[in-house]
């Protein structure tokens, strides 16, 4: 009996994050990689996908330091966030942790880390973040 493939949803992406895995969906028909995963390929309209685990290293494309934060992030402010380019050209935004703000620069290598804390209420999505490799 084959195990059923988990659905290609954002919910499932975050379930993998809770298992400390960064997973993307690859379209089996045309090879396009999707991060976040999606149930319908926006390249060829196929819904035939497979899960691919990504390496956690990447390059910082751009960043900012948020001083005025939304309520649930107020205690963290000021905090840096950036967009990191992972392998296959896939990009992911997130908070950068444990690096002095002055030492952050475009092009630097970062690595994905995983939070274990889960939130209550919708949505129950653990956060990933970026840190020095």
């Amino acid at each position: 009996m084959m195990t059923e493939t988990p659905p290609f949803t954002i919910e499932q992406f975050y379930k993998f994050v809770s298992e400390k895995k960064l997973m993307a969906a690859e379209c089996v028909e045309c090879g396009t990689m999707h991060l976040p995963p999606r149930p319908l390929c926006n390249g060829c309209f196929s819904s035939h996908m497979k899960w691919v685990e990504l390496k956690s290293g990447g390059k910082l494309l751009t960043y900012t330091v948020i001083h005025i934060a939304p309520k649930r992030f107020e205690s963290l402010a000021p905090y840096p966030v950036g967009i990191v380019e992972l392998e296959d050209g896939l990009k992911l935004p997130g908070i950068i942790r444990d690096i002095e703000h002055e030492k952050i620069s475009v092009g630097m290598r970062l690595e994905v880390g995983f939070e274990t804390v889960e939130s209550s209420g919708w949505p129950v999505w653990p956060r990933y973040f970026f840190k020095a490799p």
């Binding site: 494309l61 900012t64 948020i66 005025i68 939304p70 992911l92 935004p93 908070i95």
Partner: protein, 400 residues
Amino acid sequence: MSWRKGGSTSLSSKPLATIISAGLSKFGRREGVYGRELFAEAVKEAYDRCPNLDPRRDIKALFVGHMGESYEHQGHTGPTLADWAGLLPVQATRVENACASSGVALRWATLAISSGAYDAVMVGGVEKMTHRTTPEVTEYLAMAADYPFEQWHGITFPGLYALMATAHMHHYGTTEEQMARVAVKNHHNGALNPKAHMQKEVTLEKAMTSRVIAWPLKLYDCSLITDGASCLILAKPEIAGKFTDTPVHVIGAGQASDAIGLYERESCTTLKAAQLAGRDAYKMAKAKPQDIDIAETHDCFTIAEIIAYEDLGFCSPGDGGRMIEEGTTEIGGSIPVNTSGGLKAKGHPVGATGVGQAYEMYLQLTEQAGRRQVEGATVGLTHNVGGSGATATVHIFRRA
């Protein structure tokens, strides 16, 4: 950088629709006034400008931009505003494309006229925001950004444009000072606009030393939280003369979409949707960037105006910072941008902004812009962006 003027008066494109009247509420902190009442204020001005119009007889549809139900606990804005405009039982449709809501409404109103379905329609927009606290407004505006990957990871709206600014600085050497110059210019213009939210000049030093919101963006790099409403009345070009002696034609109307997440897009230094919307608008208008005499661009943050110059072909990619520095886009420069004060100083009641930009174009192209009038302006462009660029619309207007 040289800006060559084209022969704009000779643009031969066929009008898609014609603005026969326009109105704008006072923008600002409008305490004790409800959104629909602001809309009535804009509508009243449009009716007063156009005594030959019999609104209930002539206006056959209303398209209205409105972004957020949260502000006033009020959705279903279309028929509500139709009622407050005195237009019941007119067919009324609300359009929601974040900060581009009324720009998109304007485009579909234009296409509704050019399709032949209607002789005259009203298009408008409204947002009442200032009665909410800044954290509340921040949260409501953030809804225009991706939730599961951007909002969920603490990225605010200024944060998204800050990510673009950092990338632009890195790739092209754009500076914080160049961004601050956008604020200085737009505050100067806003001081000439009696309907602007902030009618005071700001110095370069003050702009550059204001508190950091999302580095590298500071307070004066950000547009204002504002209450306001806007309205235009559009008619078929062939019958516009029945209503007004000073019609303004809509000759180009482009729109495009992109991924909602900034991180999913090809580039952080350009808004592809704006480039595509501009390309389509220029094509419809049979115009080139050099034909544009005056523009209102979506300066929700100062970096957005710099990127707009590039996306609209006013300068080459990467030259936007230099363009502001050289004064090309000041009143008196060869292509004045945001003569109204822009979102930066006139204010940004999000749902009202797109049509509010067209209102400024109407005033400029009919020589009614008072102290900020650009002499001889014949062809104007408006550029309205939703969210961090998942929606963009560009319109081109010509004095009749």
